[in-house]
């Protein structure tokens, strides 16, 4: 249910960033969502499309990158993906590991087009 306000925040950020590059148009926004971020990706995609449709940003594309929960081994330093709540290190078998990602909700990049360039 909060995906709509997240989508709105993403569009605000796109407008703010695009405004810093005069004469360009935002064409694609990269967003990284972690498994623990409490965001439902399909719902976010739907809200994003609803807000972009008919707006000044149309046809802005959303590039959603889903990242899993990761832990790091405190013994050997290996970074690994946590599957089925298995927090043990797959490399050395160590059981002392710490959270190392998976709650991301961040903008990764913005693709801008210069309308004058490349078109006849």
């Amino acid at each position: 249910m909060h995906e709509m306000s997240i989508a709105a925040s993403v569009l605000d950020a796109v407008r703010a960033e695009a405004a810093r590059h005069a004469g360009t148009r935002a064409s694609r926004i990269g967003l990284r969502i972690g498994e623990l971020s409490r965001v439902e990706p399909e719902s976010l995609r739907f809200c994003f499309e609803v807000l972009v449709s008919g707006s000044d940003l149309e046809p802005l594309a959303l590039d959603l990158e889903l990242v899993p929960r990761r832990n790091r081994c405190l013994d050997c330093g290996t970074l690994f993906t946590v599957v089925d709540y298995n927090f043990n290190c797959g490399a050395c078998g160590g059981i002392r590991t710490e959270p190392a990602g998976g709650d991301e909700m961040e903008l990764t990049y913005l693709e801008l087009e210069e309308p004058d360039a490349g078109t006849a």
Partner: protein, 218 residues
């Protein structure tokens, strides 16, 4: 042209919650957000907590429900400032509702604020209320696998409370398995076992609360 951003997305609720948290911290208020499924014992835990408080305690409560002010009436009996937030359909509290409900209260006269969320294990976890501590309750009449079914809720808990342990002889709930499941989601999470009926374990809950309150006030 591609511009790298690497920037956290904050939605409107996050922004509002951050400003509430800042206010609570400046005033030295410990704010506790209670989350659980309906009927796990949030209101009962608050009743058992308030009944031992001296009337001079600087505590206040906001309690959320979709309809009725039944919980506020249960809690107001103890004489502390209590307000019901009736969400009218929303399945969770959000920072805006908390901000509005606090209007007119002298926050300088409070050092402990309870936010009893709407009974729901899913949506409340996505809404930061500016709280200092988030407490998730699970009762032994539910399933031991709740932490695995609702991992985000248990992952973001500062304390997990297993309630109604007086019923353990009568239900198939395996409490060690529930603890293990909570720790699978969040390996270092603190877990308390209590019964609001018999009072068992409540002294440890009060100690946990008091330690946090002292830390928030300093």
């Amino acid at each position: 042209m591609r511009v790298p951003l690497e920037k956290k997305v904050l939605n409107e609720n996050d922004r509002l919650a951050a400003s509430l948290r800042e206010r609570f911290r400046q005033l030295g208020i410990l704010t506790v957000n209670l989350i659980s499924a309906p009927g796990s014992g949030k209101t009962s835990l608050l009743e058992r907590t308030l009944e031992t408080f001296d009337p001079s305690r600087r505590v206040a409560l906001l309690t959320g429900d979709i309809q009725t002010d039944n919980d506020a009436r249960r809690l107001a009996r103890f004489g502390f400032p209590t307000r019901q937030i009736t969400t009218g359909g929303a399945c969770h509290l959000d920072a805006r509702m908390v901000e509005r409900a606090l209007e007119g209260w002298d926050l300088a006269a409070i050092d402990l604020l309870f936010l009893e969320n709407v009974g729901n294990l899913v949506c409340p976890t996505s809404y930061d209320l500016g709280e200092e501590a988030r407490v998730v309750l699970l009762s032994v009449t539910e399933g031991e696998d709740k932490p695995l079914k609702y991992p985000a809720t248990f992952y973001h808990a500062d304390l997990v409370i297993l309630n109604k342990i007086d019923l353990l002889p009568y239900v198939p709930f395996r409490i060690e398995l529930a603890r293990e499941n909570a720790r699978r989601v969040q390996p270092a999470v603190e877990i308390l076992e209590i019964s609001c009926s018999t009072g068992e374990g409540l002294d440890r809950w009060r100690q946990w609360l008091e330690a946090l309150r002292v830390a928030a006030a300093s």
